[in-house]
């Protein structure tokens, strides 16, 4: 499979008045053509920072302190802001969690899509408008000719999210980063939105990084899962393998907290403790150590990432 995104030893820090936040530490993963990788983990684990850092969207306090990330062979970590902006427009796209906030409230949705198409494909106004209608049809908006004139407030949350997807994929990007694309949507609308993304990946070979804290959604929609905890990817494997036999204690804890159709509320377990304070100068090598039921003295050794099985990587000295 051709690699679209290749990330190695990728580290990000934020400078704050109260200290340096070591938000990402030696993050590594690859996503191939047409592949969907899910990035899962608790709130605050570093999922969004990963997305923003890759696309050059970190705020002024944040910077990439190490590692490499290449998109279709182009190195992102050393690219100029102008080059990154061009990549964001054409080869990489992102969908944000709150679609209504990301759309322009006073411009009809068809126009907003047409704007993007004109900028990137250099189409005439009329061609761009008809292309926009076509794209609304592609993402399953009924009656697209009339709906093209609608403003964001006239659409439901699910429809806004589909418009966002239409805009994101207007330039046929090689990589789509979807940060919690269905939070707040009901499950039937969620399924429609996810189907559209899967269809595009199938048709155009688009690689997708699906950021979510819903393990069941990841189970259904990804080929591989990377589990993030406090800025470390602690486990990464093919989706089926990871869910059938999770090896990292954190992955197991995350699963034990996930409600399922068969379970019982009393059987669900929250994860004890909190994420460590990432400003600490003396962060332990394993950032899960203080919360881990399997902690050993050996866990104080510097962390290494190793393959525990073929294509199953883990950062743990005492895996299950």
């Amino acid at each position: 499979m051709t690699t679209v995104l290749d990330v190695t030893d990728f580290s990000v820090e934020f400078r704050t008045r109260s200290g340096t936040v070591k938000a990402l530490d030696r993050v590594a993963f690859r996503i191939g053509r047409g592949e969907t990788m899910a990035l899962v983990g608790e709130s605050g684990s570093g999922k969004s920072v990963t997305a923003y850092a890759l696309l050059g969207l970190l705020d002024a306090a944040g910077r990439i302190t190490g590692g490499r990330a290449s998109l279709e062979g182009v190195e992102l970590t050393t690219a100029s802001p102008a080059a990154l902006a061009a990549i964001r427009g054409r080869r990489a796209a992102m969908i944000f969690q709150n679609p209504r906030a990301a759309l322009n409230p006073i411009r009809p949705i068809g126009q907003q899509i047409a704007d993007v198409v004109r900028r990137h494909a250099g189409l005439s106004r009329r061609d761009a408008t008809s292309r926009a209608v076509e794209m609304l049809r592609e993402v399953g908006i009924p009656d697209p000719v009339r709906r093209a004139g609608a403003y964001p407030f006239e659409l439901s949350g699910g429809m806004c999210q589909r418009v966002m997807i239409a805009i994101a994929v207007a330039t046929r990007p090689a990589l789509l980063i979807a940060d919690e694309p269905t939070t707040g949507l009901d499950v039937t609308t969620q399924a429609v939105v996810m189907d559209i993304m899967a269809k595009l990946a199938g048709e155009t070979g688009m690689a997708t990084l699906l950021i979510t804290h819903d393990l069941a959604l990841a189970a259904e929609r990804s080929g591989r899962i990377a589990v993030m905890h406090a800025g470390h990817i602690v486990e990464e494997a093919a989706t089926r393998a990871l869910l059938a036999a999770p090896r990292h204690p954190y992955t197991r804890r995350l699963l034990a907290a996930t409600p399922t159709a068969a379970g019982d509320l009393a059987e669900l377990r929250s994860i004890p403790g909190n994420l460590p304070d990432l400003r600490r100068a003396d962060l332990p090598p394993c950032r899960f150590a203080a919360r881990c039921p399997q902690h050993l003295e050996a866990c104080e050794a510097p962390m290494v990432w190793r393959d525990i099985a073929p294509a199953h990587r883990i950062a743990c000295w005492n895996p299950a």
Binding site: L185, T189, A219, E220, A257, A261, R269
Partner: protein
Amino acid sequence: MSGMIGNDPTPREAEGRYLLDVAELSKRFPLGRRRLFGKAAPAMVHAVDDVSFTLARGETLGLVGESGCGKSTLVRLIARLTDPTTGSIRFGNRELSALPAKAFARDPDRARIQIVFQDAGESINPRFTAADAIADPLRQLRGLGGDALREKVEEAATLCGLPLALLDRFPHQLSGGQRARVGIARAIGPRPDLLVLDEPTAALDVSVQVTILQLLVRLRETLGISYVFVSHDLNVVRLLCDRVVVMYLGRIVETGPARAVFDAPLHPYTRGLVAAVPRLDGLRADALRLAGDPRSPIDPDPDACRFHGRCPIGTGRCGAEMPKLRRFDGGREAACHYVEAA
């Protein structure tokens, strides 16, 4: 414990079998800017349409359905934050529907119905400490002050697993889970008989969600509170709720014991909904996938099933005759002409 509430205008023994009895409740919003064919009557959004259900004491009722189907409008009606267009809301022995929301805000029964919104944590006044936030309704609704107030605030915080040391913190100094606890402590402080929760865990990650759900179970056991619980997460509804109401475009399409409804749905919409829930085993029921979008809630055809056009069964009859809720075995109800055919 809840039997010790002061200020109670209706003696508990005299109350009926149901804590809440909602009948033929409707809420329509006028759509100011659109006019149909130049007629003066404005078009109406039928947000809640002819909804009837009951809630027993200590029972937890789940409320599910597509975005925009009227769940929040319905719970705002029940909590008497908005006025119904038509219909009845009996709470205990009292008919509340005729009482304007404004008057109810000062009513002694106000304390008996509390609501927690989706952004419970975010909706706390940023200049209030956790203690102020919890104290506010106790002061307003129970008229408490001084030591008695302090004592009740601490009791509510303790019940919600909120360390007392956090009480003088401001919202931005608390984690999402701690803020959710403050939101719930604030609502249970006045010891309501009914707690309405509108997507209380939507913004929380799974680990924090577990602690909040287990807290709700504990409160139900110690205080005997009834819940109406709105959520998009069907697995959570199944775990927490005794019964479930499924809505589609303002109307109830199915109700019954939560597990029975989700294990063997009767209504075609419920079947599509259940089939869309992602599963950890990754197995999907693609054949039941719902396509298309719901019809418009603006002046819908009163003689057509609201699901017609999107329903995999739908026939000519469905476009000409609105299906009524019918009873089925096991305390279940569904509104579809073809329940028996499926």
